[in-house]
Amino acid sequence: MPLTVGLLLALSFAVSLLALAGLIWAISNHQLKVEQEDAYTIFAEGEAGTPDVDTPKHAPEIDRNQYDVRRAGLDVVSRPAVLLLVGSGVFWLVIGSAFGLLASLKLHLPDLLTEQAFFTFGRARTVHLNLVAYGWLSMTGIAVAMWVAPRIFHTPLRFARLPVVGAILWNIGVASGAVAIANGWTDGEEWLEIPWQIDILLAVAGAFFVVPLLATAARRDVDHIYVTGWYYLAALCWFPILFAIANIPYIHSGAQEATVNWWFAHNVLGLWLTPLGVGAAYYFIPKIIGKPIYSYSLSLLGFWGLALFYSQVGMHHLIGGPVPTWVVTLSIVHSVMMFIPVIAVAINQHVLVARNLWAVKESLPLRFIAFGALMYTLASFQGSIEALRSVNSVTHFTHYTVGHAHLGAYGFVSLIMFGAIYYMLPRTTGRAWPWPRAIAWHFWLVVVGFTIYFVSLTAGGLLQGFAMLDATRPFADSVRVTLVYLEWRSVGGALMTAGHLLLGIHVLALLARGPAWVPQTGYHPEPAVES
């Protein structure tokens, strides 16, 4: 056994180092041909230097929207898919938040709604997770990809009707999955609860998203694939494979199944939701500010580092558990290695934002996205530290981990998706947001709500962990110390849910009676660009 341990660890570590060295060599020798000027791929000719903010105090003389109006030729093609996906995503967000809030309340009001199995904690919590992960985050993330891909590839979305069909099938899959779980039909593993029979439908629906994006990338009208495209293309290769392998029924069991479970569950975050979020941030931040990211070649390190290290981190969910020592240690090592790609992304995105703080004031979408990007850095740092054996002994099995999961899936990915929605919908529909102040309200509701949420679970989780490690204290102590924090978590969750309702109503209002989205002064109508 020690031989296996040593060999596999050494092998994986050597390969990772080799790959990293190869990457650095490739970059320094221009093998990968990524140069700073490639970072301008997101701009139309002459557009760089033109901020795209809502209240252009900073540069009032600039004819700020002419470029986007030109792009409308692209946006029109992807519009049906984007609108259906965003609409569905927001719908699942609202329903998913309601279940989340219910689950949160039940942890400090355990006799609330106990008469039906449908509402029991174990099911409400699981319906929440599946609705927000597969309904809200996945559908909105795909919507953003459908909208951004044509813009970075400078060509309209191909097979633009396929994603509409895909979205309908995916919605049926998510809805039936939630109904199944609520009625006790589940595959029984975390993140893999949706019965495999329904997963087949989701897998088919997924193909309707992958084909158009690959076809669009293949027929792009620009040589370079912008960094956002790397993340999207890779995520679209990774997720279907992860999803298929982990959901094949009847082949795994026992402790071995647990390794498959966490290989999948952590990669849903690392190789699916994270690329969707980071990829979107890589497009919107420079696009809105009007300047390219700080160091384009550094983004290579961020991308390949993510692929190499994140794919191996899942076993840190089984530290101290009944699985081989070497596989746990391997995941811990890779969790710590995640500092490298995260710092690379952080330098690229935060430096650009920090040098252009005016844009955060003048663009509400950027405010959400820059905040989300910052949360990516924090969530990743926290995750790396949490994987250390000494820290994990305290935080594992406690509410601390739930806080961490929400820092990633909510603080990071959801916030970026909110910003993307606020930016995309006017440009997609030609209608402006009817109540701009509601956007600021949404921002503050979810930021304040989430801060309360995160701080209470982190503090409560730590106290819970310390109580459980202290053999002189009864187990009851580890429950009692969390109660007040669980109540505060419900307060935070309620504020977040209120923000989501506001978003939902605002999206409906925009579609129903949004005023025309007026291109700014100096605009001269031009026909939409072909190809």
């Binding site: 056994m1 296996t4 041909k33 039940k106 400090h108 006799d111 106990t114 008469e115 039906q116 029991t120 904690f121 174990g122 919590r125 699981t126 006790g184 029984g188 975390e190 690959l214 293949a218 040589d223 694939i225 293309l233 890779a234 290769c237 494979i241 392998i245 795994h252 069991s253 402790a255 071995q256 647990a258 390794t259 498959v260 290579l300 692929a307 794919s311 191996q312 899942g314 969910h317 089984l318 530290i319 101290g320 558990g321 009944p322 699985v323 081989p324 596989v327 995941s331 054996r389 002994s393 594992h396 739930v402 490690l469 202290d470 053999a471 187990f475 009851a476 580890s478 429950v479 009692r480």
Partner: protein
């Protein structure tokens, strides 16, 4: 980075490498294991009870993987010795869990061997522990005017009992309790059992 095929190929290669290390290699090590000596397969009733456990989502608050004494005082809490891979050969789907909102249950059958205790606790956990935040499961029980032959009546303090009639366990409740009582891995694990020994260099926690 101007080509799709190499990008996709390398991305997939990396995922394949991760799959070899995190899925295939552990499987090669764990799958040949036989059950811990003394571990019995579940009976039909226990398996039905296990389904109830999975359907209710018990795993979201209860882990089934006690940690070793060098990492945490789980054994002192009565949760059992450190779990090893061979303890789970009959578990499908696995219910290892990642939360301890409630205690670990891998050895709950050995720690709390009373059927009546479990029935009362499932019907209303706060009838036993005033601090408990576990959901009550009244829908796993029936209230009848009076018990019929073969009914399992749930003992309840006056405050938690219905005003009229008696509370009897449904088949689901009886099965679930049979499963809980079967959770017992107190038999010794072998010296070279598979588990995460990463804390072994440390002193046991007192």
């Amino acid at each position: 980075m101007n080509r799709i095929v190499p990008l996709a190929a390398v991305a997939l290669g990396i995922l394949a490498f991760a799959t070899v290390l995190l899925v295939i290699a552990p499987a090669a090590q764990i799958r040949p294991l036989e059950g811990t000596p003394g571990l019995q397969p579940y009976t039909q009733q226990e398996l039905r009870g296990r389904e109830v456990y999975v359907e209710q989502g018990c795993v979201y608050c209860h882990s089934q993987q006690p940690r070793g004494p060098e990492q945490a005082p789980d054994a002192q809490r009565g949760w059992g010795r450190a779990a090893v891979a061979s303890d789970y050969v009959y578990d499908r789907p696995h219910q290892l869990g990642t939360m301890r909102t409630g205690p670990d249950l891998l050895n709950v059958g050995a720690r709390l061997p009373s059927r009546d205790w479990h029935l009362t606790h499932l019907y209303q956990p706060r009838a036993i522990f005033d601090w408990s935040i576990m959901p009550a499961y009244p829908y796993l029980f029936e209230v009848k005017p009076e018990a019929e032959p073969g009914d399992v009546v749930v003992a309840l303090p006056k405050d938690d009992a219905p005003d009229q009639g008696v509370v009897v366990a449904t088949q689901d409740a009886e099965d679930l309790v049979a499963y809980l009582l079967a959770l017992d891995r107190t038999m010794p694990a072998g010296e070279d059992s598979v588990r995460d020994y990463g804390y072994e260099s440390r002193e046991p926690r007192e």
